[in-house]
């Protein structure tokens, strides 16, 4: 049987990679490989997943050096020479093995005012937002984020500047400033402007390149930069 050589990060002690041999199957995903290791070879291996179909955003790991969603990453795509190296996401503290503490990541969504606040109640009629309007199109481009943290782990600015809000939180803010029903626009712009926010983005585009949902946070961040700088020059920020 064809076997894969898999190196998996274990966090015990100083931490280090441990090698495992895993049977190779067709249509096998990286998550299948990690699950095989946990079920057959290393029962105390810590890792995280839920939906297995690319919806929940919980199974992201560093695979052969790049952050990826493991449930939708086929082994054939990343392990051309039959070798895999699986590590936890970068830029986040490790709880155990492949499991990172994502609370800092989600706290930044809250800091970026990532929650919707509207004026309508259930007794009002629906807000009518033309689907073809430019603002709604901007929302559509960024709304499918599953919060997996791949962009955050791929961002050099997050590594250099730990207080930087990161691509996911800023993308979320961008979808909300373009939501014509939302009432917190000015506060949100203030929350995402400046050096811990959108203006620190170097437009390197790692987030956009690695996003498994093909979202372009770089584009949204550029939009926030323009919007916030305009407000700052007018004295509105």
């Amino acid at each position: 049987m064809d076997m894969l050589e898999v190196r998996v990060w274990r966090s015990a002690g100083e931490g280090g990679f441990i090698s495992y041999r895993v049977p190779r199957h067709t249509s096998q995903t990286v998550l299948d490989v990690v699950t095989y290791i946990q079920r057959q070879l290393q029962p105390d291996l810590g890792y995280r997943y839920a939906c297995r179909v690319g919806m929940c955003g919980s199974c992201a790991m560093t695979v052969n050096g790049k952050a990826r969603w493991t449930c939708r990453t086929h082994v054939s795509k990343v392990a051309a020479d039959g070798r895999l190296e699986v590590a936890p996401l970068a830029n986040l503290p490790v709880i155990k093995d492949l499991v990172t503490d994502m609370s800092g990541f989600f706290d930044k969504w809250a800091q970026a005012k990532g929650s919707f606040t509207g004026t309508l109640t259930r007794h009002d009629d629906f807000a009518r937002v033309p689907p073809a309007s430019p603002r709604r199109q901007a929302v559509d481009a960024g709304i499918e984020c599953i919060g997996c943290g791949v962009c955050y782990a791929s961002c050099d600015v997050v590594a250099w500047r730990p207080d930087y809000l990161g691509p996911a939180a800023l993308n979320r803010a961008w979808t909300l400033v373009n939501d014509e029903r939302d009432t917190q626009g000015a506060e949100r712009l203030r929350a995402v402007a400046g050096d811990a926010g959108c203006h620190s983005c170097h437009t390197q585009g790692s987030c956009t390149e690695r996003c498994p949902k093909a979202i372009a946070p770089t584009a949204g961040i550029a939009g926030l930069k323009r919007m916030a700088a305009k407000a700052a020059m007018k004295g509105d920020l």
Binding site: V157, A193, G194, S200, K225, M233, G235, L237
Partner: protein, 115 residues
């Protein structure tokens, strides 16, 4: 940058972007002038003969120097913060001092070849 508020940070980003646009144009014109001027060699006396009393030269390079004095220190502050972890009022003061140094030295040089 704790000493600097968000509005100032956003404005600095804007100033750097606008100065970058100015520099993109001015660097291209500058290189064009250099290539044009040095055909067949160039001496100090020839340069001074062209620049002496030239209002256009003084204006062009005066604006050029000011754009550099805005653009470069903001970028250096970024590098200090992100690569050297040098932040706070001391880094801002150093960047500001560098801006003044660039402006003074640059404008002095422009004055030197025009006056």
């Amino acid at each position: 940058m704790a000493a600097m508020n968000v509005r100032t940070q956003a404005r600095l980003w804007y100033f750097q972007r606008v100065s970058a646009m100015v520099l993109a144009l001015f660097v291209a014109v500058h290189i064009g002038i250099v290539v044009y001027a040095v055909r067949g060699g160039l001496s100090g006396a020839e340069i001074l003969a062209r620049t002496h009393g030239s209002i256009a030269f003084a204006f062009f390079y005066g604006v050029f120097v000011l754009a550099c004095a805005v653009h470069v220190p903001i970028g250096l502050l970024r590098i200090a913060q992100e690569w050297l972890r040098w932040r706070g009022p001391s880094a801002v003061a150093a960047a500001l001092a560098f801006a003044v140094l660039l402006a003074v030295m640059g404008l002095r040089a422009v004055y030197g070849v025009v006056a």
